[in-house]
Symmetry: C2
Subunit: 405 residues, 2 copies
Amino acid sequence: MYDFSKVSRSDLPAPAIRWSGIPQFNFVGGHLAPESIPIEKLRNASNRVLSEKGSLLASYFVESGPQGYLGLREYLVKKLDRYSSISCNTDDILVTSGSSQAMDLINWALLERGDTVIVEESNYGGAFSRLIQMGVNRVAIPVDNDGMCTDILSAELARLAAENVKPKYIYTVPTVHNPSGTIMSLERRKQLLELASKYDLAVYEDECYADLVWSGDRPPSLYGLDKESRVVHIGTFSKTVAPALRVGYIVANWSLLSRLLSLKTDAGSGALEQMILAEFCEEHFDNHLSELNKLLKMKLDTLVAAIDREFGTSASYDYPPGGIFLWLKLPDAVDTELLAKVALDAGIAINPGPEWSMQKDSSQHLRLCFAKPDLKNIEEGVEALARVCFERFGIPEFGSNQPRN
Amino acid sequence: MYDFSKVSRSDLPAPAIRWSGIPQFNFVGGHLAPESIPIEKLRNASNRVLSEKGSLLASYFVESGPQGYLGLREYLVKKLDRYSSISCNTDDILVTSGSSQAMDLINWALLERGDTVIVEESNYGGAFSRLIQMGVNRVAIPVDNDGMCTDILSAELARLAAENVKPKYIYTVPTVHNPSGTIMSLERRKQLLELASKYDLAVYEDECYADLVWSGDRPPSLYGLDKESRVVHIGTFSKTVAPALRVGYIVANWSLLSRLLSLKTDAGSGALEQMILAEFCEEHFDNHLSELNKLLKMKLDTLVAAIDREFGTSASYDYPPGGIFLWLKLPDAVDTELLAKVALDAGIAINPGPEWSMQKDSSQHLRLCFAKPDLKNIEEGVEALARVCFERFGIPEFGSNQPRN
C-alpha cells in the first residue's frame, strides 16, 4: 500500500484514529436532545422550499451570491436584532458550514504562528486546540460570575503593550460561557469594549450557546454594543435546531468579510439546509427555542440531582443559567485526564478539564454535556462515573448517602 | 469603522469584491439545468429520511462518525463499483462539502510552498488557482484526444528526476476532462499508472464530470485500475444532482484519509443533504442520470449550432463526448481575457482561456458552460457574444452567413 505520509506536509496535526462508535454514556460533544428535533416542522419546511424554490438548487449559491442563501440572511437580520440586539443587514452576514468553519475562516484570515490572542482562561476546547495547532500564544483571562474579569484584562493589556505585543483579538463567549455557563454582565461588556477601543483591538464574540438561556434574559451582544465595528460575531443553529445541520454565520464589517470570503473556497455551504432552516425559523424558531430550553433545564436538573446524590460534597459547581454543559470541580486527589481515560474504558465519555481550561486547577475540573442522553441515561451515567472515580481515586467515598465498597 | 486589514495576515488572497448578481447570459460556473433538478423525488426522499431518521440530526455526524453519513457511503460503494470500476468499502470514503472541500483537504495535507505537481496543460481553473495561491510549481502535460500525453509525461518525469525534483502528485481529470471533455483511453491510463509506479508518485484523480458521458461508455477509473493504492479519487453529486447540495467525496487509503480527517475541522458536512441524497440515489440515480445526459446533450447541440451559425470558421472545437462545457478556439487576433471583460459589460459571462489553461495559445481559447441557460438563452447569448467579439476584434466577420456591420 502506498504510504501518503511520504508526500504529506511535516507540520500536520496527528492523523485521525478510526472512529470507534458512541459510548454508552456520552457526556461529550455539543449534541442536542434527539426528542427536541422538530421533525414534522422540518419536513413541512423542506416540502415548501423544495416545491417553491427547488430549481434554485441547480445554481451554486442558489442565486444568492457567496455570502449564503438570501432568505436565511434575511431571517438572521431579524433574529440578530431580536435576540442579540444587533442591527445589521444581509450584506454584513456570511453563512458558514457551522460555527466550526466560521472559527477556521477567522483564524486563517488573522493568525500566524507566533501571534498572540486574548482568551478566557476556561473556554471552548475547539477554540484552544485550533490556536495550539496554529502556534498562537494564548493570554488567559479568568472568568467569574460576571464574565471575563475586565480588571485583569486591563492589567494584561497594559503589560502586553509595555512588551510591544499587540494581540490579534480578544476571544470571548460572553453569553452562556463555555464551559461555565456564565453570562457576562452589561457592565463588563462595556468595560471590555472600552479596553478594546483603548488598545485598538479586534473582538471576537462567540455566541454559539447564547440562545439557550433558561430565563430568556440576556444583555445585548458585544457586536450590538460596539460603536466602532471592531467586533466579529459568530453564531450557529447547531445548538438550537440540530447539530448535524451545518449552518452557522459570521457578522462583521466588510474589511473582514471580504477576506473571509476569499478564503471560503468551498463553493458555498449546503444550500438546502439553509433554505429549510430559513423556512422553519421564520415560523417556528421562537416557540421551538422556548420548548427546547424547558427540556434542557429538565435534563440539567436531573444531572445536578444525580451528581448531588452520587458525588455529594466531592463535587462542586455553579448551577448554570443556560447551555448544555455543567462545569464540575472534583477534589485535588482526582486527575480528570486520567479519569477520562478509565471512564472511557467503562463506556463513559467526559471532557477532562485541561482540554477546556488553562486554569492551574484544570485537572480537577471536567465538563459534562447533558443535552443528548435521556434522563435515565444521565442518572445511570453519573452513577457509573462516580463508581469509576471511586475505584481509581477513592473519591467519592459515599453514594446515595451510603459508603461505597 | 475598524479596519481588519490591520490584523490580517499579509499573505491572504485578494479580498472578495461584492457579488454583483447573475449576468443575462451566464456561460460560467458548473451550474446545472434548473429543469433537471428532481424536485419531487428529492421531496419524497426528504420526507422519508426525516420521518425515519430525523432524530439522528441531534448528533454531530448523525451517529455515523466523521467520515460521513453511513447510508451515503454505502450507496457510494455501490455507485463507485458500477460507474468507476472501484472496489472499496465505506471505510475508504470521506464525504466532503463538495469536491471543492475535497481539493482543499488534499492540497492542505500534501502541499507546501515551492512544491511541484504534475497537471494537465489545460484544466479546472479552481485547481490551478489553488496551486498558484499556495505557491506550488505546476509542470504541465498536454492533453490530446486520448487524454494526458503519457509520452510527454514520461519525458517530464525523467527530466524532473534528473533535477532531483519529486512531484507531490499527478493531477488529472481523466474522464470528461475539464475543459476539453476528452476521455482518457484505457491504454493511457495504464501508462500513467506505470509511470506513477516507476517514479513512486501519488496520483490525484478528479472524476467530477465523469458521469456525464453521453454514451455511458467509459474506461475504469485510475483508482479502479491501480494495484498499489497510490491513487486518491474525488467525485461529487454537484454535477449530477444539484450543485447547491454540497456533497462530494474522497476515496483513498487510510494513510491519506486519516490525515485529511484531522484537517477537516468543520464538525461534519451537512448531514441532511447527505441523507436526502442517499435516499434519492438508491432509487433514482441511474434513471435520473440518463435523463440528465439527454438534456445536456440537447443543450450542447444547441450551443454548437449557434456557434457554427454565429462564428462560422472563426471558431474551432472538438465536439465533447460529455460534460457541461465546450472548449473553443478563436483566431489569433482575439484575446479572450479582453473579450471576457467587454463581454461581461454586455451581460455575457465566459471563462477566458488563461484561467483554464497553461497552453501557449490559451488567450485564443475560452470555455462556455451550457447546462444552466435554456435553449433560447444559449442562442441569444452566442449571438451577443459574437457581436461583442466582432465589435472589439473584427471577428467573426460573418454571422448567419451575412456580413456584420
